[in-house]
Symmetry: C3
Subunit: 357 residues, 3 copies
């Protein structure tokens, strides 16, 4: 996938000489992020391996969605809160519908039935329900209060963000320490897995790659974020569709590829952990960090109020994915169901004209 | 039940000589549909038996709800889209609450506990969740967009209908072919079951009965559909109540009787398959076919936007029935719960004055 | 806990000499209710033991939430229907989130994993879903109909209340008689349990204590209810927050203490039965009794329409608690999840200015 790095100079060149070619800039910077996110993931894995299981697990858990976080931080700084929120919701939905659905479908085409640890999957599904509730309440609050009482939304969002970060800390404690056994088979590093008996990189090399990839992603994100709205307009697409579906698919491409690969090896515990774990990380870690970060880097504080359609989409995605993993087995139809829900959601957003509801 | 065929001439006579007796026409045509639907089901079973398992299963899956489909097509042609939508929602709700509830209650009064195959039931419950999502999204879209953006609703409905038909095809592939084992014990033909060792009808006889019953149902449906609104008005009932509850109960009477019969024989797999399978068929096959058919036979294209109250009812019915079947066992209290939810829904619609929300 | 009885004279004295000290009156009367509810529970247990298992179980089931019922009846008589509804919703939410969450967390800190009977827990969770549906529908009806059609709400509420009482009767029949085995280990009287081999009180003594405690709770409730709104105003809190959270926590303090105690003894069946059973009792018995009682003692009939925010809160609490108990095991993270949802709900209501939505 490293040849996609070629899109870095392409994106920079386009931005410099053809700044009106928004679609091309969007596409080039989006494609350039893919290999950078891959390198970042690989560097994190190697660093984690060097630093030992405890710190390493924490590192994975924190930097696993670093690409999404960087894209969102760039959009946050530019004040594009709609894009930030769309990418948060899109990432949650995309991981549990598209990534998990594709993994179940791919695995199910090779194996008639695949089993996974119910207890770990249920614990993760419970987290997603908590996430859905934490996103529904501020949105319901705004509906109930109307425009008049918007003053309460920012302190409420800050308070909920702190609770979510606390819950994320507890979840890490649970899954890495007190009940790590429930997640056995799902902690193996995905990248390290592919590379077999290779030696982990030195701390210096891993740190250097991590730094370089971060800088690269930040740069590409700036081009990407700047071109989302004009590119969407040129394509005649709503910016909600682009934010929720296109950007999120780009941001999760690495998880996507890994989850399918391990599902084909009949390691569904790991595939689910990647898909659901990534959703949990975005919702319980990335989203509250962005809300808190908006106090420092944003033009004004950002609240946690997603547009109604996105909240509904997250809720429905959480409902069906929770039902899907509850019985500890998957087959191709389950995968197809999740993908069908993703397609129906995508169609709904596709036909929405203009701005997101 | 064949003596109910007497209501065919009664309904025709009333329509001819006493066209103002809407309640009588409604009752007579409704009762006349019951035995016709029974004959249609029987003919389908025999034909299916003659044609072998693969084609036969497909035939059952396609014509299982032919009576509902014919009633709805007649209403569609008359442009009564409210009636069509009410009967779709009523049929989904009625099958998973009334039919399944009555089967679980009846079976539970005879047996302390009844077991069924969890995996098949869960796969069906997952389908219902997908259905609920596919119905919620267009309704939410309309709420979000307001009246202004109604233009997108028809293409969105068409696109979702195509997805639903595709999912239905996959579900047939799954339940009849790749994972037929999960549904073992639920494919036995219900009618053939009662008739023991009898010889199946010849293809000609089965085809003839099927044709005659279809013509009869179509004729009776025309009288029924034409009298719904005046009959509801005369009775002081909202037409939503009549559409969602009365028409749906008539349309599902055959499933109802069969499901209770097999539940009393402790064959819960078959009872559930009839109840949930019928809901799935209405939602994934009948509803999208009606949307597509409206392009050809309706006065204007029909969308998939159910009124908010119906969407909510479908969602709640799907939620509780999914929870009910998840653990693979039933008893009388589960049946009573489902029936209580049906009664509460019925009461809510009963007290709604005038048109449906 | 008996020393809290000292707050009875304190509350009465404050009300008499310092009637403007609303916060102090609220606090004193609230604290005085705690030991009275404890005595009432103990008297009910002893009476139940004397009267034999059948009548005794019924007595427990009916008087288990007598304190809540008395508080609500006092508020009903005063026409404070907002307070009544807030305390109903608060009690349902508080039992399944706060009480169950605290029990799971406390138990989970001592035991790595605790098991309980899935079938009983699932039957109770199904009841909660039924409750949520019965509360959602009238609220949705009002939204759909607008202010114009409010006339139907009272008859609809009465009809639903009768259905709920009937379902409660069936649930008692199920859990005490036909399927008592599913709840084995959860019927042991909590108080009797602690007192080991003690002799039960005589009927006269138990009846006397019951009567005295009832009179005391009624008196204290009058002070409590009268001071809720001014106390909330003085504290700068919304009355919804006080009704839903503070009053409900006071009313459920006894359940709370018992559930944690038995969870620490690894008797999760009993802990869950107390928490969920109490929610079921409030929703299926207390709430409909209050609706029916409003015809006799209230200034006007009370409907079952909770404010939208409360209906949503009940639905979300039912969703996550149903998911939590479905697999028959608990650990500390599950408890922390439920508590986190409770905190997020509390925060949302805390930031709501003025009246409840």
């Amino acid at each position: 996938m490293s040849w996609l790095l070629l899109f870095i100079p392409v994106a920079i060149g386009l931005e410099h000489w053809l700044p009106e070619q928004h679609i091309a800039i969007f596409a080039a910077s989006g494609l350039a992020i893919l290999p950078l996110a891959g390198w970042m993931g690989r560097a994190t894995e190697h660093l984690a391996e060097r630093l030992g299981e405890g710190v390493g697990g924490l590192l994975n858990a924190t930097f696993g969605n670093a690409a999404e976080l960087i894209i969102a931080l760039v959009a946050l700084q530019a004040g594009l809160y709609d894009v930030v929120k769309a990418s948060i919701a899109g990432s949650i939905i995309g991981n549990i519908l598209l990534v998990m659905g594709a993994a179940m479908l791919a695995g199910g085409l090779r194996y008639k039935e695949q089993k996974f640890n119910t207890e770990g999957a249920r614990a993760e599904a419970g987290m997603l329900t908590l996430v859905a509730i934490a996103l529904i309440l501020p949105a319901a609050y705004r509906v109930a209060m109307g425009q008049g009482a918007a003053a309460g939304l920012v302190p409420l969002s800050l308070a909920i963000s702190v609770v979510l970060l606390g819950v994320y800390g507890l979840f890490l404690l649970y899954s890495l320490r007190t009940h790590a056994g429930l997640f056995r088979g799902s902690h193996a590093a995905a990248a390290g897995d592919d590379e077999g008996g290779h030696e982990p990189w030195s701390v210096a090399r891993a740190g250097g790659v991590l730094l370089a990839a971060t800088v690269g992603i930040a740069w590409m994100s700036e081009l990407l974020v700047g071109s989302i709205q004009p590119a969407a307009a040129s394509l005649g697409l709503g910016s909600a569709f682009v934010g929720v579906f296109v950007v999120a698919i780009l941001g999760n491409a690495a998880e996507h590829a890994t989850a399918i690969t391990v599902a084909l090896k009949n390691r569904m515990d790991l595939a689910l952990s990647i898909a659901i774990g990534s959703s949990i990380q975005v919702a319980l870690f990335v989203a509250p960090v962005l809300v808190l970060a908006s106090l420092a880097v944003g033009p004004r504080p950002m609240d946690l109020v997603l547009p109604g359609g996105l909240v509904l989409s997250v809720l429905l995605a959480v409902l069906i994915s929770g039902q899907t993993v509850a019985d500890g087995r998957s087959d191709w139809l389950k995968g197809a169901q999740l993908l069908a829900v993703y397609v129906v959601l995508g169609l709904t957003y596709f036909f929405i004209p203009g701005a997101a509801p």
